[in-house]
Every structure is written in C-alpha cells, then in structure tokens.
C-alpha cells in the first residue's frame, strides 16, 4: 500500500510541476496562432493588422482571438512578438501626451514582465529602446534585458472615447522595430 501511495504522490507532484511550467507556454502558443492569422488573413473590418513585425490589433476584432481574455475595451493594444536569436531588437514608438495612459511592457515567453515604462517617464514625443539577452550590453538607449529569446512587447494606449480610434490608430502606426547585430 505504501508503494501505491508513493507512486500516486510522485505522479501527482511531477505532473503538477509540468502543468505549471507548460501552462503559460500553451497560452503564448495560442497567441502565436492568433498573431499568425492576423499576418496571413486580411479582413477589411480589421484593417492592416500586421505591418513589418508590428501587430496593430483592432478592438472590433479581438473577440475571435482565442488567447484574448479580458481585454480592456478602452485600450488599443499594439504587439511586437520577437525572437532575439535574430539579434537585439530596436523598437521605436510615438509617445502620446501625459493626459492619456500609455505604457510599454516587455514579456518573456513564460509571460513574466521584465520591462515597463509609461509616457509620464518619457520626455519627448518618441521613444526608442533595446531588447536584448546580453546583460553586459550598455547603450545610450533604454535597455530591456530579456530572460528568453522569444517574447512579446505590449503597448497599451487609452481611448478617452471610442470615436478616437481612427486618429489614435494612425498615430500608433509610426511604431517600428528592427533587429540589430551591433550598435
């Protein structure tokens, strides 16, 4: 009987550790699929969602995305999935005035955030930063040190009312990203 209990507990503990590890990765894989659809399927009502590695999500098109849970209707989300095997990532984005909430978060593959900045911390109307795994990398730019090669950058931009969408959508579309080997 003791042997039976040991097997039962061992199986429970090991499988639970596995579920805890794999859970966030499953969610991120679902997100990958959603982003791939945004890249490959053009839907007029959603606009151009994938432009050179930047995903401009449209609030009207969020309900059919399997990974989309509890999005804030007030927010316009912009996403940049990245893979640092291709090099360090240089991101440049327009910054709105402080009267509306705007932020950038960078997330590892397991969904943990490792970098955050908001518009109240930035002077000027444009912000550039680097994402790297190289902890020794120093730069004049702000540097976000990632723990995994793959991950996600998420921008949140607030709409004060829903009529602002087209203006703010145009505003955010000067966001760009490129992989750089040397600085």
């Amino acid at each position: 009987m003791l042997n039976w209990i040991i097997k039962f507990i061992t199986a429970a503990v090991l499988s639970h550790a596995f579920f805890l590890w794999v859970g966030p990765h499953i969610v991120m894989s679902k997100l990958d699929k959603g982003l791939k659809r945004a890249q490959t399927e053009y839907r007029p009502e959603c606009g151009e969602r994938w432009v050179e590695g930047v995903i401009y999500s449209n609030p009207d098109c969020l309900s059919d995305v399997a990974s989309s849970r509890r999005p804030n209707p007030d927010f316009i989300y912009t996403l940049i999935p990245y893979d640092l095997k291709k090099g360090n990532l240089l991101v440049s984005a327009p910054v709105p005035s402080d009267d509306r909430y705007w932020s950038i978060h960078a997330h590892n593959r397991n969904t943990d955030a490792f970098y955050k900045i908001t518009n109240t911390e930035i002077d000027g109307d444009r912000f550039k930063f680097l994402v790297t795994r190289d902890r020794n990398l120093k730069s004049d730019l702000s540097v976000a040190y990632a723990s995994s090669n793959k991950g996600l950058i998420l921008f949140r931009l607030t709409m004060k009312n829903f009529k602002e969408y087209s203006i703010l959508d145009e505003f955010r579309r000067s966001t760009n990203r490129k992989y750089v080997e040397n600085l």
């Binding site: 039962f8 499988s15 639970h16 969020l62 509890r70 007030d74 978060h105 943990d112």
Partner: protein, 205 residues
C-alpha cells in the same frame, strides 16, 4: 493475465490517478474559480480580490498560470492593480437576470475602469457598453461614482450604466498608475459596493 492485472492495479492506477488529481487542481488556476480567488489574491477587501502587478519575474507559478489563462499578461510594479469580483455584497454570484448598483470612491491614479466579462472571462458584446472608465463616468457631488449594471441600457437613459447583456458575469476594476501608498497599505485601495438594484432602492429609502 494476473501479472497484467497486478501492473494495472499497482502501477497504472496510482500514476494515472495522481496525474488526474494534479490536473484537476491545476485546472482551478486556469479559470476564475473560488479556489483560485481564495488562494491567489493579494488582499481580499469585501468581495473584491486584488492583484498587485501580477507578472513580476519569479512570482509563484500558480499565479503566473492564472494570469496567463485569464488575462494573458500583467505588469511589474508599481503600475497596475487589478481587482476582481464574482459576488455582490451578499456574497451571491453576479447574475444576468438582475440589475446592480456599483457605488464607491474612485481610486487615486492615472486611469481606472470597471469592465464586466462573462464567467469564461470573455468579453460581452457590444463591448463598448461593458466599460465604465474615469474618462466618461460622471461623479456625484461627493466625488463618488454610481454605476448601474443592467441587461438593457435603455432602462436607464442619461445615467452611468453599463451592460451585462443578460450574462452571469464578473467585474474587473483596473487601476493604472496608482498612488504608491496603495502598495504600502494594500487594504487602502477603495473598492465599490455591489448590490442588486431592488435591494439598493430599499436601503436608500
């Protein structure tokens, strides 16, 4: 034959039993369940469960999964406080066949909002009617908000109202850029009361 039965009884059953139990426990942390809410919330204030920046590196893995499955990604502090409620002030689940009054004092922060979602954490359509945020809510003379949550906004013209569209629901309160003292005293985050509208009218009288 006997050997197979022995293998099944002594090895396969305990292993599969362990995996099944483990999965059932794990599943609780992939949805908004009472168990997840009891175990994971930072601070419980009335029926509200608060989460202070859930995506910190090195956080506990159950919370990481809960956030990943119910909201995808969170934040690092000090930036975002989420509060969620599944019950009204009487600890009764929030039902789609009732109207409710959500009332309280706004938090001190850059942005706050209330959004209702269905029990599977999916948004309710039309999503524009499911949100009350500080950009659009009118406060009363005491600086308080009073928001009606209903299945039909036409019942409450010219009032602060949002829609659950007849769905059983939960409510998320988002506080972005909160004042830092909330992190020192987590119970000081102001939360709203949620009462069925009939009961609220009786109390008001």
């Amino acid at each position: 034959m006997m050997q197979n039965q022995g293998l099944l009884k002594n090895t396969m059953i305990p292993i599969f039993g362990g995996i099944l139990l483990s999965f059932m426990f794990f599943y609780q942390f992939t949805h908004t369940t009472s168990l997840a809410q009891k175990i994971l919330g930072d601070v419980h204030i009335n029926q509200w469960i608060s989460h202070f920046d859930q995506s910190m590196e090195g956080q506990n893995p159950w919370l990481r999964n809960y956030i990943a499955f119910t909201g995808l990604v969170g934040s690092i502090r000090p930036e975002i406080i989420y509060l969620e409620a599944m019950y009204d002030d009487n600890q009764t689940p929030l039902l789609g066949n009732q109207d409710y009054i959500l009332k309280g004092t706004p938090p001190d922060c850059r942005y706050w909002s209330f959004v209702v979602y269905d029990f599977n954490n999916r948004r309710i359509e039309p999503y524009e009617e499911t949100i009350a945020s500080f950009h659009r809510i009118e406060l009363d003379e005491n600086g308080q908000y009073e928001i009606i949550i209903t299945d039909d906004l036409r019942k409450y013209p010219d009032q602060n109202a949002i829609s659950h569209a007849g769905n059983d629901f939960n409510i998320i309160m988002r506080i972005y850029g909160p004042k830092l003292s909330y992190y020192k005293n987590k119970s000081s985050v102001p939360v709203g009361s949620i009462l069925p509208s009939k009961e609220y009218v009786e109390l008001d009288n």
